[in-house]
């Protein structure tokens, strides 16, 4: 065995799970009543906060996002506070804490105060099941994928609480949009995940990662449709830009956040990033091989690989936010019900057939490469065919105006001026 | 005190009765629906505690029943809410006391 490979020994700090596991064993012997669980929760929370949440949220989430969006918009982004503006998030946080948190007179005070608090809790809970490394997972429960989907449906209710409690029409609009969109997007999301689960045969996240590691293929190649659906649904539920209709600032001011100010708003803002990073972590775990990188994880600490992948995935969210306009709510609904749902069902049928074939024929594991090719082609064909069937004709849309040289009256479409240049 | 079967059954019974009270006494159709949902949840709890502690049929049976109950509850909620909305549209009220189409 190579001396630099990562081992399971407790002193091998390249996988922090080894040490914490050892500590837990020792504590379990020493402490009564299973108090160790409480302690472990506290330690795990503190550790993950220090090594992951804080840097991710503040540096990548707030600073990185602002900097990147700044570059996309051909401006500098934060560059005043600290070196390269790195302390900008801290300055923002201090500013937010100093601000007065206004409460409208007619607001439902209890709900308005409760909403930001309830919004934070699920975000922390989400990270409990994410495997950062072979031994670095706080709770490797057997139904982790379902757990993730379940917990991530709770913040929607808090956004509803927030929107409703203000007694403001814009907020109510935001709340209604959130509720309507959630119902629509939960369905294709779960159906897409079902395709993944059918392939791997496990609902555990660590199991999913190990399955990908064993077969040396990422599920994104096997399940391109599920990946796309996950990405779109996630950005819909996270209110990221192409689908941020719940807080669409050009239409309904700030949606459910309209009346929030100070740190109550700050909690929503920060946790929005937290949820986005959690979704990125989940996407990386399920579709992009988690902490594995084709053997490199034996050398490099796996949690570094994982965090790197997560941030790259999060970059996709930033990118779409920086470039895409926003859809209208009825278009979003139509897209979910008429486009993503049928395609997800189609994907499910395809996966079931392939899985059946795999088991019945007792085929070799390398058949997944064939499946990957088939699925990618099928995905492209399904997306193209279904969109054509729904009446999508990009080539019929003129993108340049007609040009005429003389002023006069109405120019009928047939005469067409001098045509598009 | 370590919770046993009786504890779960007691909780289930209390919840069931509370749900029944809500369903019987609420004026609002949506309130009545919520009472029914609480009753169904109480039944689920009871079934699962039997599945966990009971001897005989095996735990899978109880869980399968719960799956069916959840399904039926979802269907029921959808239909009941659709009814409430359409009754509101046609009668401008969802007060169960005033839904007396057959009487007048």
């Amino acid at each position: 065995m190579h001396p630099f490979l990562i081992t399971d020994n407790w002193y091998d700090l390249r996988d922090l799970g080894n040490l914490s596991g050892r500590l837990l064993e020792l504590l379990d012997d020493a402490l009564p009543f299973g108090l160790v669980y409480v302690l472990a929760a506290l330690i795990g929370f503190a550790a993950s906060f220090l090594i992951f949440v804080l840097p991710s949220q503040l540096i990548v989430g707030v600073y990185g996002e602002r900097k990147l969006i700044g570059r996309i918009q051909s401006r500098y982004g934060p560059n005043r506070v600290g070196p390269f503006g790195l302390l900008q998030p801290v300055a923002d946080a201090i500013k937010l804490m100093q601000k007065e948190a206004l409460t409208p007179k007619t607001a439902d005070r209890a709900l308005m105060y409760l909403a930001p608090i309830v919004f934070v809790a699920p975000c922390v809970l989400l990270f409990a099941v994410i495997p950062f490394g072979p031994n670095m997972v706080f709770a490797d429960i057997p139904v982790a994928i379902l757990y993730f989907l379940a917990v991530s449906s709770i913040p929607v209710l808090t956004t509803f609480m927030a929107g409703w409690s203000h007694n403001n029409k814009y907020s109510l609009f935001g709340a209604m949009r959130v509720v309507a969109m959630t119902i629509s997007y939960e369905l294709p999301l779960v159906l897409g995940m079902l395709g993944v689960v059918l392939f791997t045969g496990t609902l555990a996240l660590q199991g999913t990662v190990l399955w990908q590691k064993e077969l040396d293929i990422w599920l994104v190649f096997l399940q391109p449709i599920a990946f796309a659906i996950f990405f779109i649904s996630a950005s819909a539920e996270l209110n990221r830009t192409p689908t941020d209709i719940a807080e669409a600032e050009s239409e309904i001011v700030a949606g459910y956040l309209t009346e929030y100010s100070g740190m109550k708003w700050g909690l929503f803002y920060g946790m929005d990033i937290g949820y986005a990073i959690a979704a990125a972590a989940f996407g990386v775990t399920v579709f992009l091989g988690g902490w594995t990188l084709f053997g490199l994880e034996k050398w490099v600490p796996p949690w570094i690989i994982f965090i790197g992948k997560t941030h790259l995935f999060y970059f996709l969210f930033i990118w779409t936010r920086g470039t895409l306009p926003r859809l209208r709510i009825d278009q979003l609904m139509t897209f979910a019900w008429k486009f993503m749902l049928p395609i997800a069902l189609l994907n499910l049928a395809l996966v079931a057939t392939e899985r059946m074939f795999w088991i019945e024929q007792e085929a070799d594991d390398s058949i997944v490469y064939a499946f990957a090719i088939i699925n990618i082609i099928a995905a492209a064909a399904a997306v193209y065919g279904w969109s054509r069937a729904l009446g999508y004709r990009p080539e019929e849309t003129p993108l340049r105006p007609r040009l005429v040289s003389e002023a006069g009256g109405f120019v009928p479409l047939e005469s067409g001026g001098e045509g598009a240049t | 005190m370590t919770p046993g079967l009786e504890h779960f059954l007691t909780v289930g019974a209390i919840l069931f009765c509370l749900g029944l009270t809500i369903a019987l006494s609420k004026r609002n159709a949506i309130g009545v629906l919520m009472g029914i949902e609480i009753m169904l949840n109480a039944v689920n709890l009871t079934l699962l505690s039997f599945a966990r502690f009971g001897v005989g049929h095996g735990p899978v049976t109880g869980q399968a029943f719960v799956v069916f109950i959840i399904t039926v509850a979802a269907a029921e909620a959808a239909v009941a809410l659709a009814l409430a909305v359409s009754v509101y549209r046609n009668r401008d009220t969802i007060d169960v006391d005033k839904m007396n189409l057959l009487r007048s």
Partner: protein, 369 residues
């Protein structure tokens, strides 16, 4: 509009403090779920009674007022007003003055359309990126204005009989550099947005007006051309020697928000062409004729119009031989373009209403005057 939810109709105030009303403008919409059933405009928050004030100042003193009507296109407003006074008083403008006026008006059109395009894409929800890109180029145009007139926004550059100052010598190279970059920039914006599915879905068919409706509602400018009517005052009624320049009128297909958007983009290209030609053939000579300070045009009236960035920008001036206009009326294009707002928004969603408002390209200073 399937997928919309119906509920009790209620009134929603879009504005006067709203990110998408481009100033203090307010639409009272009555919504049923997300669908708009009624829309009423409320304006006048910025009313300064300019037409009254202008009756008590001399003709020359009124030029700064015109800056402050449409503060995004002050050059065009200056031009419209001085043309009306020159028509009234029968003053001729030297060749060079006319050419400089054309250059300034077209640069102003580019700057104003940059703003219009950027703000419109912001209304569709493209989070600030196109705005910032547009501002980048608009800044350079404003730099040119600063170079010539000393002001960036409210230039006050045109004078009765010509322009205030001659062009500085660094103006021409700077303008040529800008003109070399602008087509690439327009292509960039086009690449970012025009082929974008989401953008198309948000703007195609939204706020569509047929040619008859657009005419009947007295619309002008890109809104009229978006509906397929080839009407451009620079072509139809050339002023300042526009007949010498070679350019074309872009017209749309069905008069929706997308058509107005692509018409604006194309107009920027055409403006680049015009400025290029005007620079190449910039005549020498004086930039202005001498006009008495207390100008007293003969009694009468004149209606002069120019093709402003937002549409037909008309000035109706009545003189009673006094030193100040007897009656001074502005025909504000974005005010009149708004008259079709209800027609375009009712039946659509709130999000559509915002897109429609953005496609009209209103400037509240001009609406309220």
């Amino acid at each position: 509009m399937s997928g919309l939810i119906k509920s009790e109709p209620f009134t929603l105030n879009i504005g006067p403090q709203h990110p998408s009303t481009h100033g203090v403008f307010r639409i009272k919409v009555k919504v049923d779920g997300e669908r708009i059933v009624d829309a009423e405009m409320v304006m006048g928050y910025l009313h300064r009674a300019m037409e009254k004030l202008a009756e008590e100042r001399t003709y020359t003193q009124n030029i700064p007022f015109t800056d402050r009507t449409d503060y995004l296109a002050s050059m065009s407003n200056n031009l419209g007003y001085v043309l009306a006074v020159e028509k009234l008083a029968g003053i001729n403008v030297p060749e060079r003055g006319n050419a400089i006026r054309v250059i300034m008006a077209e640069l102003q059109r580019i700057a104003s359309h940059c703003m219009a395009v950027g703000a419109f894409t912001n209304d569709t929800g493209a989070w600030q990126t196109p705005v910032m890109w547009c501002f980048r180029e608009r800044e350079r145009v404003l730099d040119l204005f600063e170079m010539t007139s000393g002001a960036r926004l409210t230039c006050n550059y045109m004078r009765i009989g010509g322009v205030a100052f001659d062009l500085p010598k660094e103006f021409e190279p700077a303008t040529r550099r800008l003109l070399a970059d602008l087509p690439g920039f327009i292509d960039e914006i086009e690449g970012l947005l025009v082929g974008n599915e989401i953008f198309l879905a948000r703007t195609r068919g939204v706020g569509a007006l047929s040619a008859e409706t657009a005419t009947n509602f007295s619309l002008s400018g890109p809104m009229l051309r978006g509906s397929g009517i080839a009407w451009d005052i620079r072509k139809a009624d050339p002023y300042c020697g526009y007949e010498k320049y070679d350019f074309q009128i872009p017209i749309g297909y069905q008069g929706d928000a997308f058509d107005r958007f692509i018409v604006r983009l194309e107009e920027m290209r055409q403006s680049v062409k015009i400025v290029q030609q005007a620079l190449d053939a910039l005549p020498g000579g004086p930039h202005s004729t001498q006009v008495p300070l207390a100008l007293r045009p003969p009694a009468g009236e004149a209606y002069a119009r120019v093709e402003g960035p937002r549409g037909e920008l008309g000035y109706y001036v009545v003189s009673d031989e006094g030193p100040s206009p007897y009656r001074f009326h502005i025909r504000p294009p974005s005010f009149i373009n708004l008259s079709a707002l209800k027609e375009m928004t009712v039946g659509g969603t709130v999000a559509d209403a915002i897109v429609v408002l953005g496609s009209i390209d209103i400037v509240v200073g001009e609406i309220d005057r």
